[in-house]
């Protein structure tokens, strides 16, 4: 079997959204919005530091679970990220996803998403995230600015190389 390349690289995506930090926060944390930009997924949590959170697929199956590491609405949300699903993914170390929201000017929010990997993960999984995040966050921007979701094809799940 070929050796799997491992990495601790982070993924960072920055987008500027004509909105308010409160609205961007609400969009990231309510299923009413996430189902429209996060590949149809819903979220569950009280979003308090220390609480659990879940990301559910459209069919209701849990896709990601984790714990709220830091919650400072509407400025910063850091959550641990454990993929649920195929057995080989369940053995992966957790990632940390952090959203930072800052006002820029009068009516624009700079949203910075950082996916960090304290423990090495397979490089193809990192690539999967790098394909997915721009789709998700561009959809969020379109939804908040135009009221309409962005219709783009879903990425394929990561495959073993």
């Amino acid at each position: 079997m070929a050796e799997i390349e491992m990495t601790t690289e982070s993924t960072v995506y920055v987008t500027y959204i004509r909105s308010t930090p409160q609205k961007v926060w609400a969009a990231l944390t309510s299923s009413e919005f996430t189902t429209q930009f996060f590949f149809g997924h819903s979220v569950e949590s009280d979003w308090k530091t220390g609480s659990p959170w879940l990301l559910r697929k459209p069919d209701g199956a849990v896709n990601v679970k984790g714990v709220i590491r830091e919650s400072d609405p509407p400025r910063k949300l850091a959550i641990s990220w454990n993929l649920v699903g195929p057995k080989e993914l369940q053995d992966l170390p957790e990632s940390i996803v952090t959203y930072e929201l800052e006002m820029v000017g009068d009516d624009v929010v700079r949203l910075t998403m950082t996916e960090a990997h304290p423990t090495p993960i397979p490089a193809n999984l990192l690539e999967g995230g790098r394909r997915g995040w721009p789709m998700i966050l561009c959809g969020l921007k379109s939804l908040l600015e135009t009221g309409k979701p962005l219709n783009i094809p879903k990425p394929q799940p990561p495959k073993e190389k």
């Binding site: 995506y13 500027y16 959204i17 624009v108 600015e145 962005l150």
Partner: protein, 153 residues
Amino acid sequence: MSGTKFVYVIFIRTTPEKLWDALTKPEFTRDCWCGCWQDSTWKPGASWKLMIPDGRVGDSGEIIEIDMPRRLVLKWRNEFMPELKAEGYTRCTYEIEPAGSAVKLTVTHEIDLPESKFIDSVSKGWPNILSSLKSLLETGQSIEETRRWPEGW
């Protein structure tokens, strides 16, 4: 490989043709690229300049490859900041692909130099400019901060 590279992907509800116009025509770039416009005939080998609203040349280079509305590769050097100009030429590639009812734009800006200050600088600028371009194409209104040249620069 000891180079520095910045990659930014953005999905925009538009057509490849409209996105191409927005990336190259002054009436769009003035609105979302800090008041700047580009001076070029857009032919392979032609010179290319990014003009600052006050008349200074911000960056210059040439068209390495052009395939409208799919791909544009520029040779690109900063002109107005000596520290960045000293790093020499970078390469910027725009790739445009349809994605459902949207268009995927990938901007790759790179140089054969480790820890490039130029790439660090553009990696802060591109998300702002391209987010504004997306707002402009989807809502008719760019992001206000990107409509004029920042004071003191």
